[in-house]
Symmetry: C5
């Protein structure tokens, strides 16, 4: 259960939602005090060639827009509100969308605008930490905003650099698809680990029932609840994208987005099934624990029920009534065969009780 | 658990629903006997200027209507039925809507009328107390009715007074949006405290299981149930607003209302997830309590099972059969090594039982 | 728990559903053998005047139809099948609708016919007993059929007699609305009592946990389940009414029916929330009971675990091995400090066990 | 619980579903080896006259088709596959529909064909056994196939023979309605018995809690689950029928089918409510059992906690330390008032413990 | 419970979902390292004749396409990625579809393309192991891809070889139907075994309650959860197929696909009902176990409560207060009738307690 405290810590943070936005005017950008410094990187892509520049200045990046069929501008870290605003102005982004970029506890969603689409998703790293990813794409450009450096896009970068034909065909929608697909693909190892752990816990419960398993199942169930909170709106966002009718989103790319939606459905199915399984495991744990307790109580009852009456008899014959005063007192103790008779009586009682328990199937 | 009785008291009150309306003709306004005295305040807004007047007379307020592009008339306290009726007459409000204003246990909803929209919402203060907010907005005016002085609108007032351009553009729909947005924003601290408390309780359960945690979880779950009862219809009301086709509600303002709906969805998601988590915590508590009881019962069984038979043996040798009458009585007690033999027998029995428990994994 | 048996009795009766209709041809009216004698009463309404007659003959009542803009014919008690059939013939009612009038276990519903609408609702009296109300309304007439004398309509009667303008405007749809609104309004005190009792039970559980609370919660939950069985179809019926397009149902009256539907939604919300709360209370009760049992078992274990070993030792030193035969027998008992040593050993054991329990947090 | 094994046996059979169809080509009819011999009976109906013939040959029956406005051909028992195929050919039935007739584990459904409708329902007898009923109806004919002789149609037969006008009006759709209505009506006694039994069990649980009630509730809940499995698709089938647009199904008959659907809704409502109640009863049983156990454990604890320490004291004073060797040994036993002091000490301890239990509200 | 480990193993494997696809470009085919060698087999079908060839080369198979009205190309084993790609090129299949063929953890689905439909289903063998089946069908061809040799198609092969007219009519859609129908038919024995086992377990629980039944019910419930995960999307896929409007899918074949959908509905109904029943069985098991424990605890309490006080009395009279020092010490022990009096007192106490238990209905 090493992973458990970390998981809780992660959730703790997630619950401080939307704080900077409370009471502020809409569209006013306020940086999260814990935000990481912003850093721009840009790819210009087209015709098998590409230009990559990390740590670029915004104006330089915008200049590339005219030179390349598609540019991908990525902003890691959201502390520089001014930069975000300037990007917004350059690409004509809606103030509410920019506010959503900066307040990084948004639900995944897809907001259609006239000349671009805005998609919010959550990006998981292999350890299960998540950050918000905001994607804008329109004719000739894709913008991505992420909370921290480090992302799920390396496979896409490699394919750009290898000159993958579909990425170099000059359509920004396919690039946006590739990025979002990479984000969803990164969910699979996390879900795989969750479901695998539940499968293992099921074995462990049958092998060695232990109270320590309960918090872990509870923690997994909770992580899966949190994941569902992300997956369902992501699916809805992809659905909204599929129903979008804009020139910058071609029908053939929608086929690809449909494939991402299939992956989402698969994840939701697994999430649903395994959350249900986890709930079943807690019930199973409780039932098996109760069964173990019953076994213990049975033993206690059998031992007590046999020896308490016998002990009483022994106590009876241990009483100090004076046999010398009258023959009424302690008669058997003064008889020559008193002791063997007493032992015989006790044996008969014990055997009788054992037979009764046998009949009741308690032993 | 200081907060607990207060929460219950709040709910108690909420359940005395709609009382004044039972059996009364529709549209007949009856003041809640506990209603707070009414007080009007008004803002005239436009072109960067504004006029603010608190405790104004209705006729004066209505006079401002012709002078300013947008007026915002706020009525705090609903004891003055006559005032509400006169406002209704002045703005051509439907009697049923006025009835809903006065009976302050309405579900959040949006009723469209020909020349204005009527929105009912619930306003939470930071301690979680709620009051009904009724908003009417049409061409050039926004009316708000609230149960008590004290509201979530201070950020909006500040922005009006600072001359925020969108608020001064002369459109009442944007002002209505700003007010409703401020109301929904005020839910976040409340939800944040609920979810944070559940996270803490989870830690407490693992750290120090105590029966006192159960009522608190129950209370939180109940508060969240009550919140859901408000959130779901609020979302539906916003949805109805988004589908409304009226000249006084512009398409661009709908984008803003869509943002409020996103916030609602976020709150509902959190509410659903954490209610589910709270239910899981109660199960967890029960399972861990059962595990603790099992441990105690195990100890009881082990001690009893070992010492009850030994005690019986001691009792056996403590019986007062007269050894002088015959050699059958109490033979071992008269042997020189009887006592060490007895102790040895008891030790063997005790070790045997311990080995049995060890094998059964009970110790 | 005085109310409990009555509630069960009520439900028992409700389950003998539709009996008279089984196997009978559709439209054949068979009186319920327990039906109450029928009695007609009529109101002629219009232009501020009204004519009221109780215990009227059907032909007289029909004669009023030509004289008054709107007549309201109420039939209390359904034993006179012939009367129901004659009313059906006079107002051109469908045989299936008449069958539903007489078989008083119908689900609430709204059946639209060409020249009238047929609404089935259930009327609750303040003690929670229910009866079926069948309402027909068309151009110029409203018919109501109820199982028993005594109804929720007194507020409407008073308003007719006071000359309320909307009731006297000559539209039957508004009168039908007023009657149905009065029926739904009568649900509020019942729901209020249920929710109030649940709030009280929550307090009682925290104050003084008692097994007797469980059946009461169960009974309340069951009453609320039965109420939901009425509320949901009532809401659907009102919805069907709102979507109805007939000349005898004006758009402006639909606004009023929409208000009734709002009340229904409010009742359903409360019902859902409190049924959920009641289920939570049963869990809470079980958890707190288990906690109480655990406390008792803990005490039992502590006392047993301390005194059973000590008792064994006392028994050991109470054995009757003969110390005179050899020094091996009962050595300590013959030592001058044997007794204080024995007491000291016992004290050490007891303190050691107490320290162990302290460490385990059992005391 | 006499009825219980029978109910289980019934279910067992139901689960051997669709066996003959596995791996067979579609439309190939394979008789169930347990099928009952087929027997045709026919009614020719029209204009107040009717012709009834039981055990008729198919060709004779088809000959009646030209003579009578409506014929009703009923086939009881499905072992004669050839007969079913010849009927199918004569009435132009789809091979898949015939397959569904013969494989008697179909879900209730309604399949529309060009010139007839095909409805599958399940017919319950009063003891709760069910058989599949397949109904085809088109212009001038109604066909019914049932698994066994014995059905719910006797009321319809009587009405035909009495010359009921609507049945004699020459429309096959009304006859089909009358038959399906009779089938649904036959559900009411079964549901009535189930709900009545649950009401009784609730009383029994309060009167005399017994573990034997649990399996019966479980069995009832299971029967109701199975019934729901039939009711929901039956409702859907009736809904499909209501939306069907074919000349052989008149609008006015749809009103009647709507009435059957109302009955279905009523049954589903009851089924839902009582299944929920049954689940609540199991919880209630568990809670009350736990309460009873708690009471027993309380008694055990009180008795043990009082007498175990007292017994220890008695044992202490029963030890055989030799008082003659030193004054340290067993001092009180040699004092003249030792015995009354010991009794007094014990009484004080017992009273102290009783006071403690009183304070803790355990007694 | 022999079957249990196997079932778990199966699930373990299922959870390693989609692994090869993570991070890879869309449409890039990567063979599962555990994939079985690929083997083609082909049927040419038409006009009562057929040509069958197993282990054929792809080019030979494609050559048959021109000779026969319909060809069915089956590829068992998916290790040969090149072969899959060449088939994709020959039949103009979308790269994403081919990726789904190779990544064998897809959800069942139906993707429509312009000139063919793509259906993913899961094929169960009689032991409950599953493999992915990918079906493409368009004008004149059906392609099937399966993970391993061995499938559910033998009934279809036999019907082709017997010259079944509908299969030889030259329509690929009917062949696709026949194959998918065979796949769904193969679910019935698996579901039948699951439901039959639950029925048996219900009997076993009543006959001989044993903790070992709980894991088996849990395992069955889990298998049924996994089956539902397949059944629901299969139903949706069939629904999508029914709504498809393409020349290669004729209306009359849709009737047949509707029949497959009916079978799916039947399986889903059974799955839902029996999963609910299995959950009920776990509750039942817990309740009956608790009842058994209660019985044991009752016995323990009765025995303890009777004998512990009696034992205390015996101990009291066994104390060694010196009666010779004063008459206050041990008075009754020195009386001639002390012993019978003591026995009488004990008997009275025992009978009193038994009467008390009788009154409390504990014995």
């Amino acid at each position: 259960m090493v992973a458990f405290p970390r998981l809780k810590k992660k959730k703790r943070r997630r619950s401080t939602l939307n704080r900077s936005g409370v009471g502020a005017p809409p569209g006013l950008l306020v940086a999260d005090p814990e935000a990481v410094p912003s850093r721009l990187s840009v790819y210009g892509i087209g015709d098998g060639r590409f230009h990559k520049q990390v740590g670029i200045d915004l104006d330089e990046a915008l200049a590339l827009r005219t030179e390349w069929p598609v540019i991908w501008l990525d902003c890691s870290g959201l502390s520089d509100i001014g930069l975000v605003e300037r990007i917004g102005a350059a690409f004509n982004l809606h103030p509410l969308a920019l506010e959503d970029v900066v307040n990084t506890e948004q639900r995944p969603k897809c907001d259609p605008y006239q000349d671009h689409a805005f998609v919010v998703a959550r990006m998981l790293d292999p350890t299960g930490n998540s950050e918000q990813l905001s994607v804008f794409f329109g004719e000739g450009f894709v913008l991505t905003f992420q909370e921290r450096p480090g992302d799920a896009f390396d496979p896409v970068r490699k394919r750009i650099e290898k000159g993958a034909p579909r990425l170099h065909a000059g359509h920004s929608d396919y690039l946006a698809y590739a990025l979002i697909d990479a984000v969803i693909d990164a969910y699979f190892p996390v879900v795989d680990r969750q479901t695998g752990r539940i499968d293992e816990l099921e074995d462990e419960i049958f092998d060695d029932l232990d109270a320590v398993q309960v918090p872990e199942i509870h923690g997994l169930r909770r992580d899966m609840l949190n994941l569902r909170r992300v997956l369902r709106p992501t699916r809805d966002a992809l659905n909204a994208l599929l129903r979008l009718d804009r020139p910058f989103l071609r029908e053939e790319t929608k086929t690809y987005f449909g494939d991402v939606q299939d992956h989402c459905d698969q994840l939701i199915d697994l999430n649903d099934t395994y959350r249900d399984t986890a709930a079943g495991l807690i019930d199973l744990h409780m039932t098996l624990s109760a069964a173990a307790t019953n076994e213990v109580i049975n033993l206690l009852t059998i031992i007590s029920t046999i020896f308490i009456p016998l002990g009483f008899l022994a106590g009876l014959w241990g009483m100090n009534f004076n046999p010398e005063i009258s023959d009424w007192n302690m008669p058997l103790t003064q008889s020559p065969y008193g002791y063997p008779i007493a032992l015989a009586v006790m044996t008969v009682i014990a055997l009788g009780l054992l037979a009764y328990f046998k009949k009741k199937r308690w032993i």
